[in-house]
């Protein structure tokens, strides 16, 4: 129903090549997240799949059908834009009904489907309002409603949560995940926030300068990053990177250790460090230190007591250490 295959897809504008060459398969029903820093091409890739931009090369297949060059309307996809892109001069009901109207459905069918979508998204009380009278979260739900009602092969989300405040973001994240479990439709989600990626995805695609760095499940990317870029991008706080002599001692150009894989002792350990700032989150404490091998971040239990200027000792867990060669690839 929603299997999408990209082969040799590339995209160039007059000034620059955004996407050199991408091969990617998205299975039916998967929740795939495109993640990466600003300018990495994730939104461009989404728009190529949607048909809002023409590819410069390569093919896009949806359910075995070659849709390269087809207009967006024919691809049976639905998109939720970052700014929601609601029609300001129409009511919520008319916004949600619009795709059905374009498809030529009868009035009864439209009414029924709109009501169903509104019920799913808690919008039943707002059907007669205009977008201007709604809050950010409500507008987003209308955008999602407009997408659902088309019963598309796949949903495309373009950074839908960026315009919401932090508390609302958390709630909407859960709602979108629940929606996915309920509808079981393929969803492609673009974000720069790796927390969203980790918590929502079945499969994450990490992009950098138009190239795919790695594709895998969240835990795969977390535990087995293929290169330095992915290792640094996934995980918060960031992985610790140590170069120089210490890394050479392990036979690598750079070694990486996550904060939770550093054993902390007040008495003895491999590296000696002075505490700079201790962030108390309640459940955890993140200690930022200056050590023999550079600045490090370590994770301790919430009750751990560390003051500025204290001396502590850090020992990395050998089995959880990542080693990187001179090309920044994993060893």
């Amino acid at each position: 129903m929603g299997k999408i295959v990209l082969k040799n897809v590339s995209k160039s504008f007059i000034a620059a090549t955004i996407i050199p060459n991408i091969d990617l398969t998205i299975e039916d029903g998967e929740f795939v997240v495109f993640v990466g820093p600003s300018g990495c091409g994730k939104s461009t890739l989404l728009r190529l799949i949607a048909g809002l931009e023409d590819t410069s090369g390569g093919t896009i297949n949806i359910d075995g059908r070659d849709v390269t060059g087809e207009a967006p309307a024919k691809r049976r996809l639905a998109m939720v834009f970052q700014s929601y892109a609601l029609y300001p001069h129409m009511t919520v009901a008319q916004n949600i009904a619009f795709p059905l109207k374009m498809a030529g459905e009868s009035k009864d069918v439209i009414d029924r489907k709109v009501k169903a979508a509104a019920a799913t998204l808690n919008l039943a009380n707002y059907l007669e309002r205009r977008p201007g009278q709604l809050s950010g979260g409500q507008r987003q739900r209308v955008a999602i409603g407009r997408a659902i009602v088309r019963q598309p092969s796949a949903f495309l989300f373009d950074e839908p949560l960026s315009n919401l405040d932090a508390a609302l973001r958390g709630t909407m994240r859960l709602e979108i995940c629940e929606l996915h479990q309920q509808l079981k439709t393929t969803m492609i989600y673009v974000t720069h926030d790796q927390v969203e990626a980790m918590t929502m995805a079945d499969k994450i695609v990490v992009l950098n300068a138009g190239n795919i760095e790695q594709v895998g499940s969240p835990m795969e990317l977390y535990n087995k990053p293929r290169n330095l870029f992915v290792a640094a991008f996934i995980g918060s706080p960031k992985m610790n990177f140590i170069g120089g002599a210490a890394a050479a001692g392990y036979g690598a150009q750079t070694i990486g250790v996550r904060p939770e894989h550093l054993n902390i002792s007040k008495t003895e350990g491999q590296w000696r460090a002075t505490v700079g700032v201790a962030e108390h989150l309640g459940s955890d404490t993140f200690i930022h230190v200056q050590s023999d091998v550079g600045a490090l971040t370590a994770r301790a239990d919430g009750e751990f007591d560390a003051q500025h200027g204290d001396t502590i000792y850090l020992t990395p867990e050998r089995s959880k250490m990542h080693r990187f060669d001179a090309n920044q690839g994993i060893i």
Partner: protein
């Protein structure tokens, strides 16, 4: 800054503002007041004039002696006609430039604006001779055509800025929703553009109504709009202040009212977007 404003400060501001406003508005006010009096009373000094009987006579006399309605009609035809024509030509152009911009679009827009800056006097003679040769002097047709061209750059410019404000994502969304180009234009673009088109219409009607170069040069009686008519207004009997006031009040009243609604458009249109 929502701090408490002292009542006395506000009162002071109000007083100064009203006085200055009154001084600026005075010439217009005086004209309106004078129009409601008879000729003999109109030329008296201020207080006696106000004290003398108020009447609509002067208005009646203006119409009776000079077929005022014809000139009013001409003004309406010229300003409305030229603006509507300009809109018809400009809407497709502005649409194309706003939504399918090319590399040259910006240059094209600037060139169009630059034609508005050409001093009319520079082409006065060819235009006059041309109009004469074509038999267009003192005709509504000629003047409507000319005003259409004179206003076209500004109409294109204003429409362009309004169209550009429609977020591209809304149009993309409707394409994703399955809309054809025709649906896109009728269901989404036009409803969103109507306020912009109305604003452009408003401002340009006002500017065309008040245009006082070509209307003075190229018309004399039959096609003369109010600008020309008033310019040549004087009564054969000598005293004519009250009638002039009446004629002036009638001439400027519609535009004063419309002008009030067009302030924002004025800034947008005539500063060519340089001030937001």
């Amino acid at each position: 800054m929502a701090r408490q404003i002292k009542g006395s400060a506000k009162a002071g501001n109000t007083l100064i503002a009203w006085v200055i406003g009154f001084v600026i508005f005075f010439p217009i006010l005086w004209t309106i007041l004078m129009s409601f009096h008879g000729e003999g009373d109109a030329i008296k000094s201020p207080l006696p004039m106000l004290a003398s009987p108020w009447t609509f006579d002067s208005y009646g006399e203006v119409q009776a002696r000079s077929n005022y309605s014809l000139h009013f009609f001409n003004s309406v035809v010229i300003s409305l006609g030229s603006t509507v024509l300009a809109l018809i030509i400009a809407i497709p152009a502005a649409w194309a430039m706003a939504f399918v911009p090319g590399r040259r679009t910006k240059d094209l827009l600037m060139w169009m604006l630059s034609t508005k800056m050409m001093p009319a006097v520079g082409v006065l003679i060819p235009m006059y001779l041309g109009f004469k040769a074509l038999g267009l002097l003192d005709t509504l047709t000629g003047l409507v055509m000319l005003m259409t061209l004179a206003n076209l750059p500004l109409v294109v410019w204003m429409l362009y800025t309004y169209f550009k404000e429609i977020p591209g994502e809304i149009l993309e969304a409707c394409r994703m929703d399955g809309a054809s180009l025709r649906s896109e234009i009728t269901h989404i673009l036009v409803p969103l553009a109507v306020p912009g088109i109305a604003s452009t219409l408003l401002l340009n009607v006002i500017l065309a109504w008040n245009e006082a170069f070509w209307t003075l040069q190229l018309t004399s009686s039959k096609a003369a709009p109010l600008t020309q008519f008033i310019a040549s207004y004087s009564s054969p009997e000598g005293l004519f202040y009250a009638k002039l006031s009446a004629a002036s009040t009638m001439a400027i009243a519609p535009i004063l009212i419309l002008g009030w609604f067009s302030q924002k458009q004025l800034v947008r249109g005539l500063t060519f977007g340089a001030v937001k």
